[in-house]
């Protein structure tokens, strides 16, 4: 019993240490961000690496999430005889919840792991040390551009995910299951407000900050071995997923 308590205390201490280190790291990243934004080319490269290269997976998943939403939504609404509300229901659930959350999970799996393993390998192969010796700050040259690239890419990916998913809903609901096209779009336009779009946007940006920070933190602080890089990559996905879902609850509770 005492042993278990000791382990729990140790785990809590390690968690708090890690949280403290990440907060400090976040402060450094924010401090250096204005200077890095002046070299915007570096950030644009990373928007391409994290954003454009994630497009295929985001669009594919968006399409299928939308199609499933179309099937399930239609099945549910049919029971109440209100299939025309499919567009409204799908749009609100995608804008407020599914879009940002699923995009963040996919982003962590695709771009987050790539960032963490890239930085971890740079650490393991002395590339970051070499930069330091060349009087180049790796935080400014490598970490912050990747972080900012992720933060910019994430809301854009969320918007694309939502647009493609809505197409998927429409494809199944209107084209396959015969929901009236006019009602589908007009009800959606009538029900969705700017606040709903803002909620999705705020979530997209917040998840973008969280997932990008976790990825660069884990990668930059990875143990410089093959195992260490692997662990950093795994931690990136796991922590990003948990943090995304916790933040989602907090943001939803705040904005409702």
């Amino acid at each position: 019993m005492i042993g278990l308590l000791g382990e729990l205390t140790d785990s809590l201490r390690r968690f708090l240490e890690r949280l403290g280190a990440m907060t400090r790291f976040f402060g450094q990243v924010l401090w250096q961000s204005p200077a890095v934004l002046l070299r915007f080319r570096l950030v644009v490269e990373q928007v391409y690496n994290t954003g454009a290269l994630s497009l295929v997976i985001i669009m594919t998943c968006g399409l299928f999430v939308g199609m499933v939403l179309g099937l399930q939504g239609h099945d549910l609404l049919q029971r109440f005889g209100s299939e025309e509300a499919l567009g409204t229901g799908a749009a609100l659930s995608l804008l407020k919840e599914l879009g940002p959350v699923v995009t963040a999970l996919l982003f962590a799996g695709r771009a987050g792991t790539a960032l963490a393993s890239e930085l971890g390998l740079m650490r393991a192969t002395d590339q970051l040390s070499a930069m330091e010796v060349m009087a180049v700050d790796p935080m400014r040259r490598v970490v912050v551009p990747r972080f900012l690239g992720g933060v910019i890419a994430m809301p854009l990916l969320t918007a694309i995910f939502i647009a493609v998913a809505l197409f998927g809903v429409q494809l199944v609901g209107v084209q396959f299951l015969g929901v009236d096209q006019g009602s589908f779009w007009s009800q959606m336009r009538g029900a969705v407000e700017l606040a709903d779009v803002n909620e999705g946007l705020i979530k997209g940006v917040t998840f973008g900050i969280a997932c990008s920070l976790i990825a660069v933190f884990e990668g930059y602080n990875a143990e410089p071995t093959a195992e260490g890089v692997g662990r950093a990559t795994t931690r990136t996905v796991v922590i990003s997923a948990v943090v995304t879902l916790v933040l989602d609850y907090i943001l939803t509770a705040l904005m409702l």
């Binding site: 390998l121 192969t125 002395d126 590339q127 070499a130 010796v133 009087a135 180049v136 700050d137």
Partner: protein
């Protein structure tokens, strides 16, 4: 070199204009493990200085102390007469611009090609016209014999080529001091010969000072002006390669002749062998 072989705990090297870098009474430990105890080393200007010693004696740590990536627990690490520990971040970075370092595996940036790897320090520190930058990079690549490989990706290079590209990158800012971390490790004899000649010729042609950390005694003896042998966190001998070969210390003798056993034991500390074999409680 008129230095005579020195025993452990020899007097500190004098600080004068002849030394581009020097360590005085440096103590350093990591996680309670003592790496250096009162280490004294002088890197003389214009010379190739070899730092040798068995694995795990902190040779790479020594380079990291000189570059300011690590701070000594006590003692002084002087570069160009200034204590590295007393430098601000800005001053430290300014000092590093006058240094080049060749990492053991080259440490090339894998997302860039050979040309951009060599151009990297220039792009970061100097706003040069593209044409001038190109000419500088090509001249450095020519110096290491790899001008024709400018467009190759870092991953396409062999170990020896990567080391040479890293060398071109290390000299692109025209440093005063070049640090080499195990430059011969894992190289075939031809590549080793090439790197060996480059270290000497670059040192002389550019008028710089070089520190070569290695345990390849035979190779480095061909080009080093002076050498230090580290063991147990201290300098056990220093002098020219010829002087070291005649050194009376058994550690130096074991190291220079590559003997498996001697003062540096072949066996890692362990309990008595027969007693351990007969011990039934262990591994039952």
């Amino acid at each position: 070199m008129n230095q005579t072989p020195k025993p452990a705990g020899a007097a500190a090297p004098s600080v004068d204009a002849d030394n581009v870098a020097a360590l005085h009474g440096v103590d350093f430990s990591i996680d309670g493990k003592v790496i250096f105890r009162g280490l004294d080393i002088a890197i003389r200007r214009g010379e190739v200085t070899a730092i040798m010693g068995p694995s795990g004696t902190g040779k790479t740590t020594l380079l990291r102390l000189i570059t300011g990536q690590l701070r000594a627990d006590s003692g002084r690490v002087l570069v160009e007469g200034r204590d590295v520990a007393g430098l601000s971040r800005r001053e430290l970075y300014a000092m590093r611009r006058r240094m080049g370092m060749l990492f053991q595996n080259g440490a090339l940036l894998t997302d860039l090609d050979v040309f951009e790897n060599v151009a990297f320090p220039l792009r970061e520190h100097a706003q040069l016209p593209e044409r001038l930058l190109r000419n500088i990079v090509l001249s450095k690549l020519q110096a290491v014999g790899l001008r024709g490989a400018a467009q190759l990706r870092a991953q396409q290079l062999s170990g020896g080529m990567a080391r040479r590209v890293a060398l071109a990158r290390a000299i692109v800012m025209d440093p005063q001091l070049l640090l080499y971390d195990e430059p011969f490790a894992g190289l075939d004899p031809i590549s080793m010969g090439v790197v060996l000649r480059l270290i000497r010729s670059l040192n002389d042609a550019l008028g710089i000072s070089s520190v070569v950390v290695t345990h390849d005694v035979r190779e480095i003896s061909q080009i080093a002006d002076s050498s230090y042998i580290l063991s147990g966190g201290q300098v056990v001998a220093s002098g020219t390669p010829a002087e070291l070969r005649e050194h009376p210390s058994p550690v130096v003798h074991q190291f220079m002749d590559g003997l498996a056993d001697g003062p540096v034991s072949f066996h890692y500390p362990a309990p008595d062998y027969p007693a351990q074999l007969l011990d039934r409680s262990e591994g039952a």
